[in-house]
């Protein structure tokens, strides 16, 4: 039968799909579909919602308002204050937690009772943030709070209260109550940084440390030039994790201050919670949520850029 023309067989539907999508993509497809449903759908729905004034009562219709929900935010004092407080919040929390976390991790790394210390330091992280809120509300209580009594006794606290004081610290920083909330967050989440950094420290190459020692580098120099560059990616992960936690943080504030006094602890996520689930203004809430999302994406990209290690081409 040589020499006869073979009419190419028409590909079946499945064969065409096989051609269009490589094998590994097809394997991932179910997971991609699930992810799309649980992330993309709400994402687009949020954008749609943010362009509407949602109906409150049965029989009413949502009203399309265009970008009015976004425009009105520029005039919303609580929103603008919330953005400012949020920046203060994650900058202070992140700085203190990173500093304490890295310091403690370096201190206990390789110690005789390292495991015991790890367990002790991890305990606060096991406590739910809402419980931390209740715990600190007792500790700060003027009537019987141990922290209040201690800070007052040593003369550190200049006000007669912690949580009811809207007085700015040093005249330009956020309020005393705000720092009360920050302290609770630091106590609750520094252990996470300790844990992540400790894991990173275990992977610092011993040969590099030994070489540094043999070259006569002191502890500080070794830390700066060998240890920290080696745990850079770990620090990035810890920083991004804590940042993302901070920008959606409301649990402890909800219990401790409800955003008061005088809006001095009302960081943006708490305002978002109020708009959406106390005033039930879903359209306005979606607009705030969308802006918060853009802010998170922008900041995450910023973090990645700052921490990105420049690859060095091998010599020779």
């Amino acid at each position: 039968m040589t020499g006869e023309w073979q009419v190419p067989r028409k590909k079946t539907f499945f064969e065409r799909i096989q051609g269009a999508f490589p094998f590994h993509f097809r394997l991932m497809l179910p997971a991609i579909i699930v992810l799309a449903i649980i992330t993309l759908y709400p994402f687009f729905w949020m954008i749609w919602l943010s362009l509407h004034e949602t109906a409150m009562n049965p029989g009413e219709q949502d009203i399309f308002v265009g970008l009015a929900n976004y425009a009105n935010l520029l005039d919303d004092e609580v929103f603008l204050n919330g953005v400012k407080l949020l920046i203060w919040y994650f900058v202070i929390c992140l700085s203190v937690e990173m500093f304490l976390g890295v310091s403690i991790a370096l201190l206990i790394n390789g110690m005789k009772y390292e495991n015991l210390f790890v367990i002790l330091f991890l305990m606060p992280m096991m406590v739910a943030p809402i419980v931390v809120g209740y715990l600190y509300s007792y500790l700060y209580n003027v009537s019987f709070g141990w922290y209040f009594w201690f800070l007052k006794s040593i003369g550190f606290l200049q006000t007669d209260t912690i949580l009811a004081s809207a007085k700015p610290v040093l005249g330009f920083l956020p309020s005393v109550a705000f720092f009360g909330v920050v302290a609770a967050d630091v106590w609750n989440w520094t252990p996470l940084i300790i844990l992540i950094v400790l894991a990173g420290l275990k992977n610092v190459p011993q040969d590099q440390l030994e070489a540094a020692r043999m070259d006569g580098a002191g502890s500080w120099r070794t830390l700066w030039d060998v240890t920290l560059p080696n745990i850079r990616s770990v620090l990035l992960i810890a920083g991004i994790l804590r940042f993302m936690d901070n920008v959606r943080y409301i649990d402890t504030i909800y219990v401790l201050t409800k955003g008061g006094p005088a809006d001095s602890t009302k960081i943006l996520p708490f305002h978002l919670y109020n708009i959406s689930f106390r005033y039930f203004e879903f359209g306005r809430g979606a607009a705030v949520g969308f802006i918060l999302l853009l802010f998170i994406i922008f900041m995450a990209m910023f973090f990645v850029k700052v921490f990105k290690k420049k690859e060095v081409a091998p010599v020779g």
Binding site: P58, S143, A166, T257, K258, P261, E281
Partner: protein, 516 residues
């Protein structure tokens, strides 16, 4: 023990999953006509085997209802799951549920303003069930006049509509609680300084309260540090706290519409007028001499300051009497506390030529039926609503575990009447508690059987005109109180003057209501 068949297992799973979304229903085999002519006993049992879910605030009355729920189960054969949460969480969960038209909570707690005002349209009209002959009758019925003064209007009626969205279920009426023992102990010293007796009566004004607060704070006595504990926390607690001062002076209110039914479009508010500014200035002064946490305290925080002996006075809600009178929890127990009407307005603080009154406000918890639940489930829910708000249930929970009844008849009971006054109040024996170490005279061996009863005298006076202030019942109440309390806190903290804060409240509130 026999094996469970596949059919039984599936049936069980089905019922279980239905229970997760608001309960399940087992219909009566009787027709509506048969039920209408049946006895009350049969009517109560028409949904035997069904299950309901009740979402409630974690109030003492709901805890009391929960502890007595067996009598409901015995009466109806129904089961009920009672979920108790903080009021804000109840509002959030009910709000999400009704806005999503899910009906997961067939029965829910409906505080008049935080939940009723925004969501009443999603509740069933209870008049429909009242007219239905298939439901049993309860003592006195459920008409307007069986409840305390206009309580049904407060919880059930909104914006001039005839619909009844909820029945009164519990209440928290504000009274002044004060340390009678400390007042007697330091009377002479106060009198020599302020040239007036250290006494609290229904004629005591807010200015007198300020003087007493100044006296205790300056004196710094070993047994009490502050004269007053307030509750200026952001939200409803703060709004109610400040409202008492405002209304006491010239019956000042933020709007002139009828407070009992409220208004959908309240129009321009009166914040920023002379009287509101004076009231805020005076409130700030009161705050300065109060317990230092007063700006962040709600009712529970203020109560803590009082029962730990840090404050000599606290305007607080009657339900807290149970804790105040418990010597294991409170240093103010054992007859040391007296209860009186909230302070009167001081004539020298009134600039609007209005009347000075003992401004009293409250939160009346209603009980409502979710309009998105299934029709038969709603009917079963009405049986629970009837039972929970009946005279017999209110009486039972009051006498056995403490409650805050709303029906007039309860207060006509001779034993309850005796509970109004400490000297005649029925008492119960307790394990002796020594209030002061090494002082046998301070030993408490008996406590009132119905401690809340001690607040009923001033409460029943406070809820009548001209003292009572109930508003503002507006759809955007929850956002309004945030605006209000946040600006009040800015003034108290010194970030704004009273005038600036009042004008800011006006600007923001008017904007909220579309007033240009």
């Amino acid at each position: 023990m026999g094996k469970i068949s596949r059919r039984e297992l599936l049936k069980g799973l089905g019922i279980g999953s239905l229970a997760l979304v608001g309960g399940h229903i087992v219909k009566s085999p009787l027709s509506p006509t048969q039920l209408a002519y049946a006895s009350d006993d049969v009517k109560w049992k028409q949904f035997k085997g069904s299950k309901l879910v009740f979402m409630s605030e974690d109030t003492p009355p709901t805890s009391a209802i929960k502890s007595k729920i067996k009598s409901f189960k015995d009466l109806t054969g129904m089961d009920i799951e009672i979920i108790q949460e903080h009021l804000d969480i109840v509002s959030e969960k009910v709000g999400i549920d009704v806005r999503g038209k899910k009906g997961a909570y067939p029965v829910y707690y409906s505080q008049d303003k935080p939940i009723g005002a925004p969501f009443h349209a999603h509740a069933e009209d209870l008049r429909k069930y009242e007219a239905d002959p298939t439901f049993p009758k309860v003592t006195d019925g459920v008409g307007s006049d069986v409840w305390l003064y206009r309580f049904l209007d407060v919880t059930g009626r909104f914006y001039g509509e005839p619909k009844i969205a909820a029945y009164p279920y519990d209440n928290a009426i504000c009274v002044m609680m004060y340390r009678k023992d400390l007042f007697e102990k330091y009377s002479k010293q106060f009198e020599s300084e302020y040239k007036k007796p250290l006494r609290y009566t229904e004629n005591t004004t807010w200015k007198d309260v300020l003087d007493i607060s100044k006296f205790f704070k300056k004196a710094n006595f070993p047994d009490v540090k502050y004269g007053l504990a307030l509750q200026g926390r952001e939200g409803w607690g703060g709004q109610l706290d400040f409202q008492r001062v405002c209304y006491a002076h010239g019956q000042w209110r933020e709007w002139d519409f009828d407070d009992w039914t409220g208004s959908r479009k309240p129009g321009p508010c009166k914040w920023g007028d002379e009287q509101s500014i004076v009231c805020l200035e005076k409130y700030k002064e009161l705050m300065q001499y109060s317990h230092p946490d007063s700006l962040t305290n709600d009712w529970s925080g203020a109560n803590t300051a009082y029962i730990t002996g840090l404050a000599a006075m606290v305007p607080n809600y009657g339900e807290f009497a149970a804790v105040v009178e418990d010597p294991k929890q409170s240093v103010a127990a054992g007859g040391r506390t007296a209860y009186e009407l909230c302070p009167k307005g001081d004539p020298s603080w009134i600039v609007n030529r209005g009347k000075a009154v003992n401004a009293t406000n409250y939160g009346i918890g209603g009980i409502a039926i979710n309009s998105y639940s299934k029709p038969e489930l709603k009917k079963a829910a009405y049986l629970f609503v009837l039972w929970a708000t009946s005279y017999e249930t209110m009486m039972m929970v009051l006498k056995d575990v403490g409650g805050t009844p709303d029906r007039k008849r309860v207060f006509e009971d001779p034993e309850v009447k005796k509970a109004f006054v400490r000297e005649t109040a029925p008492m119960k024996n307790i394990e002796p508690v020594e209030m002061e170490k090494g002082n046998p005279a301070s030993r408490v061996t008996k406590v009132p059987l119905m401690p809340n009863g001690l607040t009923y005298g001033p409460s029943l006076k406070g809820i009548l005109p001209p003292n009572v202030v109930v508003g503002p019942k507006i759809p955007k109440f929850n956002e309004y109180i945030q605006i209000l309390t946040s600006e009040v806190q800015k003034c108290v903290s010194g970030a704004k003057t009273a005038k600036e804060a009042c004008l800011a409240i006006k600007e923001k509130t008017d904007k909220l209501h579309g007033v240009k």
